[in-house]
């Protein structure tokens, strides 16, 4: 779901079947976290 | 093959022989006979093209942009109000380096509405990046289409072209024209093979947006290509002469220029009248000559300077006016002669189809001999 709904298309499946964002393209919008039915993603604000 | 034919039909036939794959045009007087003839050719199988009956001129040129970007030779025709309506598409096509050829049956700009000839329409787009060719007669109007496609599609140019010829005066007049055969044109004009096109096998992006870090360079490159077109025209024109006997290599043409003291500079069908007037004046011993401009963009600054350097005075005829300033041609000629002491005077005439007779040309020669100029010619005081 997160992979489908990411506006950047930067969420990729790794070899173990987990989905991770490519942090060089992630804008931190939080849609993945908001939409995950398992609430498996949490957003954490980067240090200022 | 020599035949007496209407200007529009001669042009349509020339376009047919150029084998455009997409024709997209909106009818407007006095270009209508061209687009009607082309529709006829398609309907009867003598032109193998997709003919798009667009709903306005903006769409006409936009469809050509799409077709050309997709790799097909595209053609349109318009004039006056129609050309003005596609103003932004003209800049867009040149900026995207798409070698579209468009016939302009020159017509005055409204308001007030006029269907008759002057050159304001194409002149007003001289900044757009399109090459501009101006025909003196229907033979030139015809030939310049082959030249235009050949030059536009040259990889060193890749810029669109206007082929301009005076509306009604040329488009609706019957003149003898030598039309080429299909084999002739196929020999001269190779198949359209752009370096890039819209193709799923090799995706590229056309028409992106450029920030201030990049825009200037795009404009420089486009200007360089347009200025460089002069050399491509020279080569293409010489080849045309070798094959068909008519030389289009030079952007200007002199008539009775060798020892001329008074030189008239003019563009388009008016040159025919000027030549006749010159013949008369020469018979009376007056040393008058004509410098005809056939390529207005890129402007032949060097050639104009060279051909005018021995003149004692120059009279520039403009069938257009940059309102609030002067005619477009006189400004360019003055620029070409900057630094010389030769007096240059401009004359605005023939606007909105006002007829220009030989006696008007003679009047202008008298005016320039007296040092008078930079005025409208033939104003009807009773109308003012």
């Amino acid at each position: 779901m997160c992979q489908t709904l990411c506006p950047e298309g930067c969420v990729h499946e790794d070899e173990e079947g987990f989905f991770d964002p490519d942090y060089s393209f992630c804008k931190g919008c939080g849609i993945c976290a908001a939409e995950c039915p398992k609430e498996a993603i949490t957003m954490k604000q980067e240090e200022k | 093959m020599m035949e007496i034919t209407e200007g529009s039909h001669a042009v349509a036939e020339a376009v047919r022989l150029c084998r455009p794959q997409v024709v997209s045009a909106y009818p407007i007087t006095p270009q209508t006979h061209i687009v009607e003839a082309l529709a006829d050719f398609v309907a009867n199988g003598t032109l193998d093209a997709e003919y798009i009956t667009v709903e306005n001129e903006l769409s006409a040129l936009s469809a050509c942009v799409g077709a050309s970007a997709a790799g097909s030779r595209a053609y349109s025709a318009t004039t006056s109000q129609g050309l003005a309506l596609m103003f932004e598409v003209c800049f867009n096509a040149a900026g995207m380096r798409l070698p579209i050829v468009m016939s302009i049956a020159n017509r005055a700009m409204g308001a007030p509405l006029s269907i008759w000839n002057d050159q304001q329409d194409s002149i007003s787009l001289r900044d757009s990046g399109w090459l501009q060719f101006y025909a003196e007669d229907n033979q030139e109007a015809t030939d310049l289409h082959y030249i235009a496609y050949r030059v536009s599609e040259d990889p060193a140019v890749l810029l669109p072209s206007f082929v301009c010829f005076d509306g009604f005066i040329l488009s609706h007049t019957y003149e003898p024209v030598d039309t080429l055969s299909q084999e002739d044109v196929d020999k001269y004009l190779p198949k359209f093979a752009p370096p890039e096109r819209l193709d799923a096998k090799d995706p590229v992006s056309f028409g992106m947006y450029a920030t201030p870090e990049y825009y200037l360079e795009f404009r420089y490159e486009t200007d360089r290509a347009l200025k460089g077109a002069k050399d491509v025209i020279a080569k293409a024109g010489k080849e045309f002469e070798a094959l068909f006997g008519r030389d289009y290599s030079a952007p200007v043409e002199g008539y009775s220029l060798d020892d001329a003291e008074t030189v008239i500079v003019a563009m388009g069908s008016i040159c025919g009248t000027v030549k006749d007037a010159i013949d008369e004046m020469r018979a009376e011993g007056k040393k008058v000559g004509l410098l005809k401009i056939r390529v207005f963009r890129p402007f032949p600054t060097e050639e104009v300077a060279m051909f005018l350097k021995r003149a004692k005075r120059v009279a520039v005829l403009d069938k257009n006016i940059s309102l609030g300033a002067k005619g477009a041609t006189v400004l360019e000629v003055k620029d070409a002669l900057y630094g010389s002491a030769i007096p240059v005077k401009g004359y605005i005439l023939g606007l909105g189809g006002r007829d220009v007779r030989k006696r008007v040309i003679r009047e202008i020669v008298s005016l320039v001999e007296k040092g008078q100029g930079d005025q409208f010619i033939g104003l009807r005081k009773e109308v003012l």
């Binding site: 489908t4 709904l5 990411c6 506006p7 950047e8 298309g9 930067c10 490519d22 393209f25 804008k27 931190g28 919008c29 939080g30 849609i31 976290a33 908001a34 939409e35 | 794959q21 997409v22 997209s24 193998d48 093209a49 997709e50 798009i52 009956t53 667009v54 709903e55 306005n56 903006l58 769409s59 006409a60 936009s62 469809a63 050509c64 942009v65 799409g66 077709a67 050309s68 970007a69 997709a70 790799g71 097909s72 595209a74 932004e88 598409v89 867009n92 995207m96 819209l198 193709d199 799923a200 995706p203 590229v204 992006s205 056309f206 028409g207 992106m208 947006y209 450029a210 920030t211 990049y214």
Partner: protein, 326 residues
């Protein structure tokens, strides 16, 4: 052919975080596949996807001007026909380019029946130039050229019914979709691409920056639009509605309160509350318009729900197709 695993709209584009249009571009290109030529009009998507020298598009792409995508596509279609090529043409244009400035070109292209798919990503205003109202801006929405103020409730006109207009042109397939339902969106886009002739899909693409909500709520708000009946997902074949997503409508205020562009309608300002018939919206029991006595209030409610064919309307909270009523 669709390519669900392809990413033909690459990361690194400059869209705002949480952009609905960016997601729409990703989903549409997946549904379209590699054998596609995309024509974009000027707007957010064109600008954030192609800052020279970078491009997010992995399919051939062209941008000409704001209003002429349909005309450019007409020319490409003609060229492909003459060259015997099979690529599909997909136009991606915003609501500004589609509903307003592009009307002439779209009408002409649809009337001529060219074979292409026109996707309108509808973020309901001219977003790229700074959130000005368009013909797609909903009634009472606050934009920079239709701002809410002491003398205004915001946008004075209902949403233009673009699907009906294009169906009237004889478009064989017209649909609306939303990024909230990506599988449905991709299915519709694929169907449009595989239907010969000019097809149209209007995709609801909420804009966090323009509508005033946090970027992570984009999908949630797109869903709410449908659940409150302010966006309707439907399909039309040859001008007749064949499928529509039925919902049991939630109170409209649930959608309105999430976005800054509507918050003026729910403010504590007593003048606003007196003038607007919100009671039935708040209780969640919308009545058919006949039961409201004040005809001006009728108008306001009707306007609020316009923008989709009148074949669909609400009764007792349910969305029904007109033919069901008979």
């Amino acid at each position: 052919m669709a390519c669900k695993t392809c990413e033909l709209f690459d990361s690194g584009h400059r869209a705002c975080g949480g952009c609905g249009a960016a997601l729409a571009a990703r989903l549409v290109t997946k549904a379209a596949g590699t054998d596609t030529i995309v024509v974009s009009s000027t707007g957010c998507m064109e600008v954030f996807s192609t800052p020279y020298p970078e491009t997010a598009w992995k399919v051939p792409w062209i941008h000409s001007l704001f209003e002429n995508a349909a005309a450019v596509a007409s020319g490409i279609e003609a060229a492909l026909k003459k060259q015997g090529r099979k690529e599909k043409i997909v136009i991606m244009a915003g609501d500004g380019a589609t509903f307003d400035i592009g009307m002439i070109c779209i009408s002409g292209a649809f009337e001529r029946g060219h074979d292409f798919t026109y996707i309108c990503y509808d973020n309901e205003a001219y977003m790229n130039t700074g959130i000005q109202r368009s013909g797609a801006t909903p009634y009472d929405a606050s934009t920079t050229t239709s701002p809410a103020g002491s003398h205004s409730f915001g946008n004075k006109r209902p949403k233009k019914d673009m699907p009906a207009i294009l169906a009237a042109h004889g478009a064989p397939y017209v649909a609306t979709a939303s990024i909230a339902y990506p599988a449905d969106l991709m299915q519709k886009v694929e169907k449009a691409i595989n239907t010969p002739g000019p097809c149209y899909v209007q995709v609801h693409a909420p804009c966090c920056t323009g509508w005033g909500f946090e970027g992570d709520q984009t999908i949630a708000i797109a869903k709410l639009a449908i659940e409150t009946g302010l966006w309707v997902n439907f399909e039309m074949l040859d001008g007749k509605i064949t499928r529509a997503k039925k919902v049991v409508r939630k109170p409209v205020t649930e959608y309105l309160k999430t976005q800054k562009r509507f918050r003026h309608l729910l403010s504590q300002n007593s003048r606003m509350r007196k003038l607007l018939p919100y009671r039935q919206w708040q209780t969640g029991t919308p009545r058919s318009t006949g039961s409201i006595s004040n005809s001006r209030k009728n108008e306001r409610i009707n306007h609020f729900f316009r923008g989709f064919p009148f074949y669909l309307y609400h009764q007792d909270g349910n969305m029904i197709l007109q033919h069901d009523l008979s």
